[in-house]
Amino acid sequence: MATVIVVTSGKGGVGKTTTSASFATGLAQRGYRTVVIDFDVGLRNLDLIMGCERRVVYDFINIINGEANLNQALIRDKRVENLHILPASQTRDKEALTKEGVERVLNELRQNFEYIVCDSPAGIERGALMALYFADEALVVTNPEVSSVRDSDRILGILASRSRRAEQGEAPVKEHLVLARYAPERADRGDMLSVEDVLEILGIPLLGVIPESPTVLQSSNAGVPVVLEDGSDAGAAYGDLVDRFLGKNLPHRFITTQKKGFLKRLFGGG
């Protein structure tokens, strides 16, 4: 039975697409047949982050409209086996996402995949609602900043009331918190919310903390999911996140200020 996971946040620019790309890649790396769908119709980005923008022929909307079949539209990732990408249309808008169409595509994908990752657009309008409607689990991405946390709270409310599971009275969508762009020293200084602050407000289990890292920007510009950058903090954090999602009990890293050693203080960096 396939699991549908929405990556959502409410607010834009907090790291949804980065998280979707790395989460899906991490699941595939661990051997699970995984597909990641870009729901951001009209603002197609996932293909760029995944580095497959030059191989897009058909898209999600083409399939919904019956203009192509799934095999024509799914893009196989060249680096990781078991990973497929279903890109969004750049020329259409969110109105093209119909509930019946999305359901039909998801049902077809369920036949062949174990994990279906839905990369939600920002906002709480049709695109975001369609991305989360069929979800079994949700990764709620938030930044340690009040407006982002409030928007995530809003999305959690929508997940609890307007998802298919909520409407049909089934078990609620399982919620996971992903705290991205976290800088422990700035949280210590009080410039940003701490992990505890965010957990106190949102009250859902913490799946992972992704440290603020220049590697995220570099790898997204290079079209490489950051989880593949093993040596970087952010890549390692995403790896831990995937393992935790799959049931491993790992301590959270990158949430406390690291004491700089003598040599590091002398030569800088870190």
């Binding site: 409030r150 928007d151 709270d153 959690l156 929508i158 009331s161 407000i201 009250g203």
Partner: protein
């Protein structure tokens, strides 16, 4: 001259007409069939109020009558009772209640059986309708930003936090087993006795029966943050107090 429809114009006028009517009758509750005792008691009653016993119709109620011994030679039959009552200015018109045997005796004596008033639907007291209990609305999950929950007619109980940007409303009290960070409006239909209770008061707005304070005006002592608080109305002013003194 009676107006009649043409259809009945040729028919002769009927000799009588049957109509229902209600009468107030005296009921004689008979406890025992001791002729002497009845006569003594009757004589006393007649002496007390002679004008009352002037051919007064009575119904004999047999419900509380102890069953006479099966073959009581001195046992009274209804003929005897009938004459006794007539002799004291009463006119028995019928019996009610009693065992089937007694009723059969009464029928033989020419006394009709009147329906038991308690068993007839028309005279039975309507079941007293209890007012529907006022239901509290219980919310088992946190109330998130953008959500609004209303408890009409009663209390609202939230098992979780009320987030900033959320709104909880009740005609009665509001109980929040978590932090109140959004808006809470109790007694929105004007109940000045209603209150707001929460585990931590960090509200954007609190209101009772229309009197409100916004976050800026709440001015909670920082030491009280995270403490269980209550809000109530006294002399038309919102009072914020510790839940536990």
């Amino acid at each position: 001259m009676l107006l009649r429809s043409p259809r009945f114009a040729t028919e002769p006028a009927p000799p009588f007409e049957l109509k229902g009517s209600l009468f107030t009758l005296t009921v004689l509750h008979l406890f025992q069939l001791d002729r002497d005792a009845i006569e003594r008691h009757l004589a006393r009653k007649v002496k007390q109020a002679p004008s009352f016993f002037n051919n007064t119709p009575v119904v004999i109620d047999l419900e509380d009558l102890a069953e006479p011994p099966a073959n009581n030679p001195d046992g009274m039959n209804f003929d005897g009772l009938y004459e006794l009552l007539r002799g004291h200015g009463m006119a028995p018109v019928g019996v009610r209640n009693g065992s089937p045997e007694l009723q059969a005796v009464a029928r033989r004596a020419g006394l009709p059986l009147l329906p038991d008033s308690r068993s007839t639907g028309a005279t039975r007291k309507p079941e007293r309708s209890e007012p529907a209990p006022i239901r509290s609305r219980i919310v088992n999950h946190p109330v998130r930003s953008g959500q609004q929950v209303y408890a009409p007619d009663g209390d609202l109980i939230v098992l979780g936090t009320v987030s900033a940007g959320a709104e909880v409303i009740a005609d009665g009290n509001i109980h929040i087993y978590g932090a109140l960070r959004g808006r809470a409006l109790a007694g929105v239909k004007g109940d000045v006795e209603s209150r707001i209770f929460c585990q931590s008061l960090e509200a954007e707005l609190i209101s009772i029966a229309g009197r409100y304070r916004i976050s800026e005006q709440i001015n909670l002592d920082p030491a009280d943050r995270g403490k269980a608080m209550q809000v109530h109305l006294a002399d038309d002013r919102l009072i914020i107090d510790h839940l536990m003194r």
